[in-house]
Structure formats: structure tokens, C-alpha cells
């Protein structure tokens, strides 16, 4: 904020100015403090902040690089396979009928990028030796589906349905083709909300310094020269906590491992908001705590069932969350708050996806997450409700289709 010269002079003149406080003011403050526990400062904190930031940055960079590599690899392999395949066909393209096949190759071969060379050759044979409609059309999602055509089925899938009745279509190499085409690298984005907020109140423990004073008092009066080993709680004091539902937004990347199994990772932003009210007899102190986390999940997803654009799947895995930013406002005053430690979670969910078009699907994913105690002193939703239900809504893009 820019101050003009006169205002700056005024600031400089009085910024460090001091005026004597009333002599007996400390006595009143001390009397008030007798009623209030004074906690020691946090000891952990800034030493690890830089390291955590680096770790989070490294994780994000690794994710982006990994995603980029997978994308690049998919694209490159597709192009290589495409060109090899085209070359093979062109070598044998002495029949007029096969020229038509060559024109169709990009559409088919773009879906075969992960195949081995030998399998690619087999496909070439299939393409060149079988009628055009049989070799290309079945490649789409046909296998387990009903032969009847429904209105919801995309138009491009229609030709294959005539072919599924043909026995020759069910040759092993063709089935292999179908399986390969089931696999898609996916990108997705989603929003997630924890189900239910959480409130509780805790008693306030007497500060160590005050406990020691009581011990000394006992020792001096010869009543009971013993240490107070049990926690001493103060009457009329409590801390109320209200943890709001967590909100998360994520980007995901899914990589197929087999026909039904895929590995999913990504990056997720999670916000936790909590309100604390310290009640000290007649006085209350309000604190608002906002924690921002960046997480990297790693899940295995198993597809249970798929039909007519719908699919259900089970997903299980883990996630690591780095607390990248904190905000603490005590009675309207911004205060510094050390960051949380690395937080892990175990996650399981059941998903239902509907492919609006072959390339884009929307999904809903109710799930259960468990957040083990990370040992930090920060109080948040994860600590208060380590096992939590959540609901994820999202969009998936099948980039190979």
C-alpha cells in the first residue's frame, strides 16, 4: 500500500512511540491469567516447511511429467504402429479391395497403440484377409453386449452388431483386438465432499507452569508434598470445535493395466475449515482455521460390469496429502500457523459411470476414507473423524477413443 509523503512522516513519527502504561495494570492482567492456561509454543514447524514444499512441488512435477510421458508414449506408439501397419498393407495392396482397407487404417490402428509387434502383424493379417466390415467394425465395444441395437448406442457401433452373429468374427485374434480396444488412458476431473461435519468440545488442561505452582504450594504447607501427575482440568473452561465438511477438487489420470484393471493417480486439492471457540468463564476467544492440502492419490480400479455405456467399478488405494497453506484468524487477527505434517489416507469406493459419448463419461463415486493420525498437534477434520464417508462426482475423458 502506497502512502503519500506526509502520511509516511506521520507513520514514522509515531510507529515506534511508547507511552507509559498504568502501574497496576500488570497486576490485573496477572489476575486474569491465573484463570487462563498458557500453553507452550509449538516446537515443530518452520524447519520442515521448506522441505515439505519441495516435496509437494516434486510430487506435482513428477505427476505432470509422468502424465506427459504417458500421453507422449501413447501418441508416439500409436503413430509408429500406424505407420508400420500402413506400410505392411501398402506392400500387399495389390488388390483394389485392400485400398479401401488402407483408408480405414488410422481409425483402427490408433486404438492399437499398446500392442506388441507380433500382434500387430496378426491384426494386419486379419484386416487383409477378412471382409472389410468384419475386420474393422467389431473393434468397438461389442464383446459382452447384447446383439440388439438400442437407441442409446452410439451410431458408430451399429455395424458391428451384425457381425457379432458371424462365427468367423469370434476368432482368437479378433477377440484380442476387442480386448485391446477396451483399454483407455483416461483423464478426469472431479469434486468431492465429505459427508457430515463434526463438532465436539474438550476440557482445558491446566498449564504446566500453573501445575508447578500448586505443587510448590502443597510442598510449602506440608500438606502433601507430592507431584501432581494426573492432568488437571479447569472448571468453566472448554474448547469447542466445529470441523466443516472437507471439500476437494481433483484431476486424475488413469492408465490401463489389463482389460478390467487400471491404475489411477492424479492431484487433488482439499480444503479443511474449522472453527474453535475457547471458553474461559465469561470470555470467549474465536479462532477460524483453514488448511489447504495438495494430495496425490494412487488407486487400483477394477471394473465389475459394463453395458450400454454404463459401468460399475471398485476402487481402492492410498493418498498422500501435503499441507501447503494454512490460515488462522483469532478474533479477526491473522496469526501464523505452522503447517500440518504429511497426511496419509486409505480409500475405498464404488463407482458408477455413464459414458455420455464414447469419449466422455460422468461418474458418481461414494467412498470410505481412513486418515491415520499423522502425529501433528493440529486439530482438523481428519483427526476428529478419521473414518469418513465421502461422495465424488466427476468427469472422465477416454483419450484413446
Amino acid at each position: 500500500m502506497k502512502q503519500d509523503q506526509w502520511t509516511q512522516q506521520l507513520h514514522d513519527k509515531l510507529a515506534e512511540h511508547e507511552m507509559a502504561a498504568p502501574d497496576d495494570l500488570w497486576a490485573d492482567i496477572e489476575a486474569a491469567l491465573e484463570q487462563v492456561p498458557v500453553s507452550p509454543l509449538h516446537s515443530e514447524k518452520s524447519r520442515f516447511v521448506a522441505l515439505r514444499r519441495w516435496t509437494a512441488a516434486a510430487a506435482v512435477a513428477a505427476l505432470l511429467l509422468g502424465g506427459g510421458y504417458l500421453w507422449f508414449r501413447q501418441s508416439t506408439t500409436a503413430l509408429q504402429t500406424n505407420s508400420k501397419e500402413t506400410a505392411n498393407i501398402e506392400e500387399t495392396a495389390d488388390k483394389p479391395k485392400q485400398e479401401t482397407v488402407v483408408e480405414e487404417q488410422p481409425k483402427l490402428l490408433a486404438k492399437l497403440e499398446t500392442r506388441e509387434k507380433t500382434k500387430t502383424n496378426t491384426i494386419t493379417k486379419a484386416v487383409t484377409e477378412t471382409p472389410l466390415t468384419e475386420s474393422i467394425a467389431p473393434a468397438d465395444e461389442v464383446s459382452e453386449e447384447e446383439p440388439q441395437v438400442t437407441p442409446a448406442t452410439p451410431a458408430e457401433e451399429k455395424p458391428e452388431r451384425h457381425i457379432t452373429a458371424d462365427d468367423s468374427y469370434r476368432r482368437p485374434q479378433d477377440i484380442t483386438i476387442r480386448r485391446e480396444k477396451k483399454q483407455h488412458v483416461t483423464f478426469g476431473l472431479y469434486a468431492m465432499n465429505g459427508l457430515g461435519s463434526q463438532s465436539n468440545s474438550n476440557p482445558v488442561q491446566m498449564a504446566d507452569a500453573l501445575v508447578k505452582r500448586y505443587e510448590n504450594l502443597y510442598a510449602n504447607s506440608n500438606i502433601q508434598a507430592a507431584r501432581i501427575s494426573e492432568p488437571v482440568y479447569l472448571t468453566g473452561f472448554e474448547e469447542r470445535q466445529h470441523h466443516h465438511r472437507p471439500i476437494a477438487y481433483g484431476l486424475t489420470l488413469g492408465y490401463p493395466l489389463s482389460e478390467k484393471l487400471s491404475l489411477n493417480t492424479g492431484i487433488v486439492y482439499t480444503k479443511l475449515f474449522s472453527e474453535f471457540t475457547q471458553v474461559m468463564r465469561s470470555m470467549q476467544i474465536q479462532r477460524e482455521q483453514t488448511l489447504h492440502y495438495v494430495g496425490v492419490p494412487l488407486n487400483l480400479t477394477y471394473r465389475i460390469w459394463a453395458s450400454h455405456g454404463f459401468k460399475t467399478y471398485l476402487s481402492a488405494g492410498t493418498a498422500a496429502y501435503w499441507n501447503v497453506r494454512t490460515r488462522l484468524v483469532t478474533e479477526g487477527v491473522n496469526q501464523q500457523l505452522g503447517k500440518d505434517r504429511l497426511q496419509w489416507s486409505l480409500n475405498g469406493s464404488l463407482g458408477l459411470q455413464y459414458d455420455v459419448v464414447p469419449q466422455i463419461g460422468i461418474y458418481v463415486e461414494p467412498g470410505l476414507s481412513y486418515y491415520p493420525d499423522n502425529g501433528s498437534r493440529l486439530q482438523n477434520y481428519f483427526k476428529d473423524k478419521p473414518t469418513t464417508l465421502n461422495l465424488q462426482l466427476g468427469l472422465r475423458v477416454n483419450i484413446n477413443r
Partner: protein, 181 residues
């Protein structure tokens, strides 16, 4: 001299005398801030007492960020408590109810004015004038934030500041004139 870090470590270690040292170190500074908002001594006493109780009871949440950060934190707490006090005990006047001040062509030199006198002059400004002026000049808050804190429009905060500045300049000129005679 004990650094802020050493002082905080002593408090963390449960040394109760360190609380007193913190008070001794910053009570004069807090008092000067408080008097700019609440000029009556018996009233500002409540503000300072309340501020220190809050400082000492929430100090476990204070994150040390270098020498001076504790002092800045004390300043913010006192300032916020003073604004709260004014809110609770006095009705802020709206801009419309404040008469226009005459334009002051030039801003008077303040180098020769004792800080106590200048503090008292700020304290004599109308409550909403001095609140905005203090938050803008000494707490270095932008008008957007001041507006949010006080529940007023940003343009109102800006208007209050300029009127406060004009009134203060006029009072300083009057003071300087009285010193000449």
C-alpha cells in the same frame, strides 16, 4: 538484550516470569497504539488489559517469523481490540453526518510536534475518522480490508481517511499557530 526468539522460548519452557518480561517490553508500545484509538486513559486500560490477556493466552499459536514479528503481532491485537471496543461502546458516525472540513492547501510540518501531542490529536478525531486513519497509516491496511473490518464500503473508508487527514492537518496547524504566540 533478550531477543523475541529467546523470550518466546522462555515462555514455551513454562517460565512464568517471561510473560511479565513480554508485558514490560511491549506495554508502552501497546499503550501508545491504544491511545490513538481510545484517548480516555481509564478506557484504554481495559483495551490494553484485554489485549495482553489475549496475547498471553494465544501465544502458543503465534509462529515466530523473525525479530519484530512478535511486536507486529502485539500491534495487530491491540489495534483489533481497540476497534472492537469502539464498536461496542461508541456509535460510529456515517460519512453523511460528518460536516465537510475546509480544504487544507498544504500539509503542515509535523517534525517539531511531540509524539504525545500528536497522539492526543489523533485521539481527538471522531471515532470513525481515527479508526480508519490508524488502520490505514499505522496498521498499513488497504481500504478494502478496512471496509471489510468495519462493515463499510471501500469508498467510505477512503472518504473517511481523507477527511481525517484534513481535520488532523487543520488541528496541527492550529497547534503550531498557538505555539508561535
Amino acid at each position: 538484550m533478550e531477543t523475541e526468539r529467546q523470550l518466546l522460548e522462555a515462555i514455551r519452557g513454562g517460565e512464568r516470569a517471561a510473560l511479565r518480561r513480554l508485558y514490560d517490553r511491549y506495554s508502552g508500545y501497546a499503550m501508545a497504539i491504544g491511545l490513538r484509538y481510545v484517548p480516555e486513559r481509564d478506557e484504554v486500560r481495559d483495551v490494553i488489559q484485554d489485549s495482553f490477556v489475549r496475547i498471553l493466552t494465544t501465544i502458543s499459536q503465534f509462529d515466530y517469523r523473525g525479530e519484530g514479528s512478535l511486536k507486529s503481532w502485539v500491534s495487530r491485537i491491540v489495534s483489533n481490540r481497540a476497534v472492537d471496543y469502539l464498536r461496542q461502546h461508541q456509535r460510529f458516525m456515517t460519512v453523511e453526518t460528518i460536516p465537510e472540513e475546509p480544504d487544507i492547501a498544504d500539509e503542515p510540518d509535523i517534525s517539531g510536534i511531540p509524539p504525545d501531542v500528536l497522539t492526543a490529536m489523533i485521539g481527538r478525531l471522531p471515532p470513525n475518522y481515527r479508526t480508519v486513519l490508524n488502520l490505514y497509516v499505522f496498521e498499513q491496511q488497504p481500504h478494502r480490508e478496512i471496509a471489510r473490518m468495519l462493515g463499510i464500503k471501500e469508498s467510505t473508508s477512503s472518504s473517511l481517511f481523507f477527511r481525517a487527514k484534513k481535520m488532523l492537518a487543520k488541528n496541527i496547524k492550529d497547534y503550531l499557530k498557538s505555539q508561535e504566540t
